[in-house]
Amino acid sequence: MNRRDLFRIAAGAGAASLLAACAGPGGDPAPTTGSGGDLSFAHWRAEDKEVFEQIIAEFKKSKNFGVRQDISPSNDYQSTALQKLRGGSIGDAFTAFRGAQFLDIAKAGVSADLTGKAVLAGYEPSLITAGATGGKQLGIPYQLVFNTPLANTDLLSKAGIGEAPKDWQGFLALADRLKSQGVTPIAWPGGDAANAGQLLNVLVVNNAPTDDALGKIETGEHKVTDDWFLTVLKQYAELRPYFPDNATGTSSDAALALFAQGKAALLATGSFQIAGVRKLGATFPIDLLAPITTTADKAKYEGVFNATFILGVNTRSARQDDALAWIEHLSDPAVAGVYANGTAQHVTVKGVEYTNADLKALAPWLTRKTALAPRFQFTNLDIRGAVENATVQVAGGKSPEEAAEAAQKVIDQKKK
């Protein structure tokens, strides 16, 4: 190796280390007294921009400041929001994904404690537990989504299916009947890791021995080679004939299109995609239909919900009072109604009137027995990835046992 090679290596070392090193530890919190200009509201939902602009316009009328939306793509937001929030100049008020990101933000001390604040009285207490950690309410989950497959009820009716099956055999029979009618029973975006994992929620909730069983895989108390998780993987194998051919390469957009075009009866993601389905021109009625993975008497839950888009006030912001005022504004039932109906998302705010036809149709699910989505109990992306990858591999033809063994090996390396 000559001197030139050594210089190359030194340059490579610098470049490779630059990313990891550019953010140093520590840094003092910003002052907590006010400044002028628009408040920064950091979030990842570009599709909500217009509705928020409408809400901001109303907010501005009663305040002497506006709100600027700092929107990042969800992937970027997942990875970089915490570093941006620490700077204090972005995200006076911010949102967080439920699970790893929220817990990281909480751990970093970036979320102001909202415990005891009057704003909490406007929310259903049982729906905002995902914003609490360590005995403090550090954020308020704003959206209420159902991570339960969407169903084209027109296609179900044509196949002579009146009501949702109450057990696993009933679900397979439903899928068979749909297939015999020339319809793809389940559109599933196996090629899109983020959305492929939504199906795991409903396949786990009734099979799992406890409600926090997925989280216990991460800590090592459960293994994916345990019988209950092998049952989950075997059920993925049983669903193979009912997914489209080559489903493991299907993107989220393609699965959405299959459902919206009436070629697939179920879309195995969740209610957060209803707006997208409608945007593609679908006019059929939509309901939710969760596969019950056990016998009827053993089923604890009818579906899955998630409380996310967790609103928080940035402790590094110089304008914490203003940020709280913005969150209070969003928490007003009338304003929350504008958001909900404009984005086709249910919200956790009490007393909201849903006028959107889809939200009205799904309103009964607000009181049905649904479990908080277990997939977000994972806080380590590698472990979550290993588990979800196993499900995709099984759907692609790998044996459940082999997929479980391979996933468990990674989990053992990565668990805390």
Binding site: M1, D5, R8, I9, G12, A13, G14, A15, A16, S17, L18, L19, A20, A21, C22, A23, G24, P25, G26, N75, Q78, S79, L82, Q83, R86, A100, D104, K107, A108, G190, G191, D192, A193, A194, P244, D245, N246, A247, T248, G249, T250, S251, A254, A257, L258, N380, L381, D382, G385, A386, E388, N389, V392, Q393, G396, K398, K409, V410, Q413, K414
Partner: protein
């Protein structure tokens, strides 16, 4: 006098030191800690991060394997395709300028746009590839492409080759146009056919261009981060994970110390591959 001249280098040295050397040294330091990226304190863990990455991390090993597969396919495929296109289009014949522009066109696109285009091509339900196979009666060959655990990374390599081959074609065309016409005349006089002219004249004479193409292609292959994320989403499944996406995922997992250790191994891998290429280049071209 010499000292005064050195003063002119101070701004550059300050910038280089502040924005390059210092972070590099800090990166090495973080690699020996369990820093999560935001806590004010962290613990020293010595070389355990590095040991773990090298000896016990299946995900990192999987990413390295994927990256090497990707590198191999892209280097071979892109070099061969670029050279073929250059040989066919080097002479200014009717339509060659248009064809050169067409083959060069993908290079001007952003990698995100390229990812979107190939996502459409590879989609098993609505994609071009399966539709074409269906049309020509080869539907048995239809595939999940990016969803196929065994071959997914190779399909991304195809997209990468399409993306950059045109650029490398231009490098080769420049090299071919530098070859004196007398060499071809002499070869023809000696009775050399087209293949022999290529083998004994063109190929040896474009050797410097080949070295450049391979070096550039190698760097591009390690930098395929945005193409992978565009095609596979974030985090990518293990079948599509390469070293750069692996480090990014570790960073997103709030394991900055471990990500720094992975970066060091990443750097060593690049250095090693570059060194091997240089050695191989010298052995082949002298």
């Amino acid at each position: 006098m010499k000292f005064r001249l050195l003063l002119f280098a101070v701004p550059a040295l300050a910038l280089y030191g502040g924005f390059f050397l210092l972070p590099a040294v800090q990166g090495l330091r973080y690699a020996t800690t369990d820093w999560d990226g935001y806590s004010p304190t962290f613990a020293d863990v010595g070389l355990s991060n590095l040991t773990e990455v090298v000896s016990n991390d299946d995900l990192f090993r999987n990413a390295l394997t994927n990256n090497l597969k990707f590198l191999l396919v892209v280097v071979l495929g892109q070099t061969a395709l670029a050279l073929l296109l250059a040989v066919l289009l080097a002479a200014r014949t009717r339509g060659s300028t248009v064809l050169r522009a067409l083959f060069f066109l993908p290079t001007v696109l952003s990698s995100v746009s390229v990812a979107f285009i190939w996502k459409f091509v590879y989609d098993p339900n609505f994609g071009l590839a399966n539709a074409v196979l269906d049309t020509v009666g080869l539907d048995a060959l239809q595939s999940a492409y990016l969803g196929d655990e065994e071959t997914a990374i190779l399909w991304v390599a195809v997209a990468q080759i399409w993306f950059h081959a045109g650029q490398m074609m231009i490098v080769y065309i420049a090299g071919i146009n530098q070859i004196p016409a007398e060499l071809y005349d002499a070869a023809k006089t000696d009775g050399a056919g087209r293949w022999q002219q290529f083998r004994h004249v063109t190929w040896p004479m474009v050797a410097p261009a080949t070295t450049l193409v391979i070096a550039y292609t190698t760097v591009q292959s390690f930098k395929a981060f945005d193409l992978i994320l565009g095609l596979a989403g974030n985090p990518p499944r293990s079948a599509l994970d390469i070293l750069s996406t692996r480090i990014y995922t570790t960073f997103a997992n709030s394991q900055l110390g471990y990500a720094a250790a992975e970066s060091i191994v990443f750097m060593v891998a690049i250095a090693l591959v570059t060194w091997l290429q240089n050695r191989a280049g010298r052995m082949v071209h002298g």
